[in-house]
Amino acid sequence: MPSEHRLHPYSIIFAFLTQIRLFVVPGIFVLVGMTSRNGDWWQPWMMLLIIPNAMVSVLRYVTFRYRYAESEMVIRSGLVFRKERHIPYGRIQNIDAVQNVLHRLLNVVEVKVETGGGGTTEATMSVLPMFAFHEMRTRVFAERQAATPEVANATVAPAPALLQLGTRELLLCGFIDNRGAVVIGAAAGVLWELGLFDRLMPTLFGETVTGRGAVRGLFRAAIGNVTVSLERMLMTIAAIAMLFLVVRILSMGWAAVRLNGFKLLVVGGDARTEYGLLTRVAAAIPLRRVQTLTIRETPLHRVFGRVAVRVDTAGGRVEDGNAKPHRESLAPILRREALPDFVRAVVGPAYDGVAWQAMAPGAFRREVKGWLFSALLMFGGLTFWTRWWAVPVMPLLLAWAILGARYTVKHLGWAINDEALLFKSGWLWRRVVIVRLSKIQTVTLGESPFDRRLAMAGLHVDTAGAAEGSVVHIPYLTRDTAATLYAQVSEEAAHRQFKW
């Protein structure tokens, strides 16, 4: 019987720290809240709950064992309720490692093993010594390669990095992605908790409808009811501009730290990414497990000639909105010129010379109705707020609706080739989803009453682990096209086994 391994003794420390983070941060707010808001006397005592929790985490460390069997990994845990989990190597979708600063100081690592089943991570091992992580990777990937002989012959020699991001690219990535809003949101939360929000907001937005907050003043001035001094107007505009700028700069800094030293390698059929300055993440995704590949392109991406590429695997999705360990894109930022080669390296020749097909001729007619409806709603709102000022805006809204519908339809498209079904959508925020035919789970042909009037139909293709942005739902096909495509895709999905 192979020997069993345990977690690193430091696990207790990390479990403790997690508990402390869970309890102490709200605890501080409770204490602060008590001074300012007359919190209930029992609230601080709630923090004593940390003690049983901490004991549980110690027990977990003591009882946690894992070993490598011939074709599977066996994890045992639990004292009262024993649990033994067998994870076949072949089913492991990816093994991720996360190392924050403390982890790195102590030379340990938190390991996450993901399989296709269920919504969450199959096994989290917090924490393992570094060598154990390397051992796990070697073992699991070696076993898997033995199971698929073609891979074993593949070159395992260190290939050149498929993507490597320098600081300049990372700053650009942060600028485009604009995750600074997250930081601002957190700050707003803290302000709210500390009760500063109540003091800050009135000066900015005014306390009631008749208030004199800066933004509101600006809005009213723009409508023409009230005159605002030019000085005050400029100040407000400058403040808002500053806010946006600060958000962008924060986002850039955050990206540069979070993705520091981003490197993507393809080794023996696995895509391995490594990044992070403070929290070091090493993730490995077997390429044959890639279900869909999504290319995103925002207006800012277009300005700089960049795209972002994400892949979805069956593992690591979340069903009920629990805290999801955020997975970075496979390529957070990528030069447009490098895209075809990149996609080819990840999913094969699916994106080479794509012959995009347009939607059915009546697509504009269908699309524009929705746009006109929202334009009408906006017009209604405007009339309510500004009375006659809405009238000159109406042609603008109409033009916007018609143009929007036109360009949205123009940028819809689908294509199919030997490898994959492709779907592109979006006018300003564009995306291309590439679904491998071998990964299609179900195919659904849908026909709504609106479709029926114009002899149209839609096609929905379901894959494992499809995230929000990578769902393929092709609308506005002519009924014949839809039926043909449906038959073709069903046929392919039924008969295609995955081949390397």
């Binding site: 299609i440 179900t442 659904t444 026909e447 929905h460 379901d462 894959t463 499809a466 069903s490 046929e491």
Partner: protein
Amino acid sequence: MTSETDHRLDPRSVTLQREIGWYVTAGMSVAFIIGLILLFGFRRWYWWAPVWTLGSIGLAWLSYRWAEIEYRHTSYRVDGDGIEITSGVYWRQVCNVPRSRVQHTDVAQGPLERKHGLGRLVIYTAGTAHSKVMLPGLEHHTALTIRDHLLPRESADAV
């Protein structure tokens, strides 16, 4: 069973749907009456009795008709490649589950279904939106046959 033709559901499923329809109608009628009484009090609610009667009759009629209409619009086809389910009256859809993508299958039977000798076939895939495809209203034995037919033969990895 595994021919290339479309099959209808078991006709008894119409009876079942109608029975469910009766229960729903009865339940809603009672809820409606209680609501009226709470809203207008004991002395006045019966002014609304005609509305209540019409509403209940309408609901009963609709659930009676709807069972049949739905039955006419539902069919399935099982062949060597997998199963194809057609359903929906206004929002129609044809869902194809290749046999190689079936993770596992259940045949479920509620008390009412058991009374009518019906079964509900539930097909699970590794997908996201359609990870659970249901085909209710089959004869129990037919459901079992289809289930056995759909069980994955080769140990290919669908994910």
